[in-house]
Amino acid sequence: MFDFSIITKWFHTLLTGVMPEWLAIGIECLIVLLFIILLYAILAIALIYAERKICAFFQCRLGPNRVGKWGLLQVFADVLKMLTKEIIKLRQTDLLLHDMAPYFVLTASFLTFACIPWNKGLDILDFNVGVFFFIAISGIGVVGILLAGWASHSKYPLIGAMRSGAQLISYELSIGMTMLTVIMLNGTMQFSEIVQQQADFGWNIVRGHVPAVLAFLIYLVAGNAECNRGPFDLPEAESELTAGYHTEYSGMHFGFFYLAEYLNMFICGAMAATIFLGGWAPIYFPGMDGFNAVMGYIPGFIWFFGKAFFVVFLLMWIRWTFPRLRIDQLLSLEWKYLMPLSMINIILMALVVCFGLTL
């Protein structure tokens, strides 16, 4: 597998050769900044387009096909429209909080986005407590949503925000616990290490067999709930709360929430791919050397995106199939089913790990 860190190291030495260290780091940071923004924007556009097309196919429709070839430019038109839309400020809102909410949501989204290992050696934030960090910062998004609902000074957003507060924090527990099982399996909290181990010993979902599969399923449900989608879209709940916590947001202000929603879906998928499906590690069958070699030639980021988009597709499939849950059903699903199940799963995984039963 091609190691991207070779390029970054070479680039670093190249820069430090002609300029002082601080300038080199500054330039690298600038490149990282541009890289994140570009990737973020491209992914957002791709995801929104994919969602509209995929849901159209589920619903026996065509989806956007007039703007550009196959409607490819539809999302660009939407972005332009949103940029030129008035930003409404309500008279009695808490203006500071109202304006701050998108910052919180996007910061959380960007930070979690930066945690994802794209390829071998290509990860922006790679702490040795990576998983911990990931869980911690994904909590910032909740603050943003709560602020948005509270500061709007309106009843529908308030109810939406309260719902989303309860929902997001509840499901965060399950996410934490499923990640715990993975950490146990791999013995590290560093995302790059986790993926490296999977490249060496096989994907976690195979290696950890029963508890890992269980953890993966729990993660899918909880992750789906974390991105406010599918049957768990209660904070927005179009048919109940008109538009939920962002009812009073207009123009680009609303656009940020829209953007973050889709990116969070991708992050959820990417995380599932990273910790369960082997991240950038190619598919590998013991004993089939020729096949393995061919697979090894495919670049890691393609593997990664393939897996991430597969999970994203699963999430879309679920979203466009199921009716919405009610708030009490939603909470009892988490607290009475998923939580005890993930606790049992931790012990199961601990047994598997301690007695060396991994595949």
Binding site: S239, E240, T321, P323, R324
Partner: protein, 522 residues
């Protein structure tokens, strides 16, 4: 049918009504119609009662000569639905019902001047178009008689000042139009609903009083646009029976088939709307796929997709096309084949079941007291199908089941509608091959004049009993034309059904009740 209305003195009314309810089991208040008989007759009310056990009917009328301060006794303590009916009468005629707990206007703005249905009222001159927001009062008035015979007023509270009240509607994706429900919440739990109606009140009944009979037909389609065919069928039948016009068998066949097709179309849309309310968007598109086939049949035969204007007095507008039977059979085959898809994606889905089973339960007594006829009442075990109770058209010649469930919850209402769709197909099956040859229009005089008297005709529309009441003075336009709305009782029952449920349930219950607002507001 021609009504034989018994007059009861206004002072005796309450006792007489109580007696009817208790002794003759008249527990279904079909209609409560406000009337203005001018200077000689005064203002009054016609009550139409029916026994849910024996099927007996009774018609009572009462009146008061005082036009300045018309007072009548309330019956809202006997039938719950009278509460909202009496508010309607107060709104239109200004008749104040003593001891009625909530004497507010029902349809018009609270600051509306005058009472538009009185023959001497000129509503347009007194009420210019107003752009200011409607004041929505939190208190209401109750009138009662003091010991000394004078009328006293007391204030009843609807919402206390510190209640958390949220407006659901009029512009809300799930109120199926412009229903406005002021909902008091405790957290997410609904503790009270106060429906505010009239956002689509078009005064159809009032307009009809100045139109000739054939002209009034045009407005029925636009009442409950999802039962357009059945509504118009009711009015045509009422007029035909009043003037004694015989209908050819061919027309009877066509009308019956059309009614059932309309029912299928309506229930398909109901399913689509319900699943959208509950958040399963994809299922919505599945029903519309089949509904478009049906609309194609409508369009081919009468040129209209939603509003067909098909029935006329004495027949139908055009003859059916030669390939009508083939088209209908094709549609039927397609629907039967794909019917399981609806069940798979929604009706048997575990989330959907959790959302519907045991939610929004109405007991049989409540359903009858509220007069919730149609699939809603039949979900509570009440046998109320007009097609069985008072057969019209060909319904006494075809075999069909009356779909009854006992649970009375959202799920029962939902499944009732789904089963009714198949039952409608069965009815069509029996008729479609035997449409007899003949005229599609009976010859009649160009000017229709009804004999003096009161006439009533009910049909089973897609969501309950739709009735047409005509009072004629022998002119070419009706003296009073009243439609029994099949949605108004459902709205009245919403408060009972939704108390203690969550906001999300409120939406789902509204979806399974399946009301159409223009039919309620008329």
């Amino acid at each position: 049918m021609t009504l034989d209305i018994r007059t009861v003195a206004s002072s005796e009314l309450h006792n007489e009504m109580m007696r009817l309810k208790q002794e003759r089991h008249m527990d279904f208040l079909v209609n409560l119609i406000g009337m203005d008989w001018g200077e000689e007759g005064g203002l009054g009310v016609i009550y139409m009662l029916e026994s849910s056990k024996t099927g007996e009917t009774a018609e009572i009328k009462t009146s008061t000569m005082d036009r300045e301060h018309p007072y009548l006794q309330t019956v809202s303590d006997i039938w719950q639905i009278a509460n909202i009916y009496e508010r309607e009468v107060y709104d239109f005629y200004g008749i104040i019902f003593l001891n009625h707990p909530d004497m507010r206007r029902l349809f018009l703005r609270e600051d509306w001047q005058g009472f538009p249905f009185r023959k001497d009222d000129k509503p347009e001159e007194e009420n210019p178009l107003r752009m200011d927001n409607e004041p929505l009062a939190d208190t209401t008035k109750e009138y009662f008689i003091n010991a000394d015979g004078s009328v006293g007023v007391k204030e009843n509270v609807i919402f206390a000042p510190d209640d958390y009240v949220i407006n659901i509607g009029p512009q809300h994706p799930s109120t199926h139009g412009v229903l406005h429900m002021r909902t008091r919440l405790d957290g997410e739990t609904v503790t009270k609903i106060d429906p505010v109606l009239g956002y689509i009140h078009r005064g159809v009944e009032k307009i009809s009083e100045s139109l000739t009979y054939p002209q009034t037909l045009a407005l029925t389609d636009r009442l409950d646009y999802l039962s357009a065919m059945q509504n118009r069928h009711a009015l045509c039948m009422c007029i035909e029976k009043a003037i004694g016009l015989e209908i050819t068998p061919r027309v009877q066949y066509i009308r019956t088939i059309m009614d059932e097709l309309q029912r299928v179309a309506s229930h398909l849309l109901y399913y689509g709307a319900l699943v959208m309310d509950v958040g399963a968007l994809t299922a919505f598109f599945y029903t519309f796929r089949e509904r478009e086939m049906l609309l194609k049949i409508f369009e081919d035969n009468f040129g209209g997709r939603l509003i067909m204007n098909y029935n006329t007095i004495g027949g139908v507008m055009y003859d059916i096309r030669p390939d009508f039977a083939k088209q209908v059979k094709e549609f039927e085959k397609a629907l039967r084949k794909r019917f399981h898809e609806y069940q798979d994606i929604y009706s048997t889905n575990i989330i959907a079941l959790n959302r519907m089973v045991g939610v929004g339960t109405l007991s049989q007594e409540q359903a009858i007291s509220f007069g919730c006829a149609g699939p809603t009442g039949r979900a509570c075990g009440w046998h109320n199908d007009v097609r069985k109770r008072h057969p019209y058209a060909l319904y006494d010649q075809v075999e069909f089941k009356e779909i009854i469930r006992e649970e009375g919850d959202s799920n029962a209402r939902h499944l009732n509608r789904m089963d009714e769709m198949l039952e409608s197909l069965n009815i069509i099956d029996q008729l479609i091959d035997n449409i007899p040859e003949g005229d599609f229009q009976t010859k009649r005089k160009p000017i229709v004049k009804l004999p003096e008297g009161s006439f009533y005709q009910a049909v089973e529309s897609s969501r309950g009993e739709f009735g047409v009441f005509i009072e004629s003075k022998g002119d070419k336009s009706p003296y009073r034309l009243h439609y029994r709305s099949n949605g108004l009782p459902l709205i009245a029952a919403m408060d009972t059904a939704c108390r203690g449920e969550k906001i999300a349930d409120l939406i789902a219950i509204g979806g399974t009740m399946d009301f159409v607002i223009p039919d309620i507001d008329r």
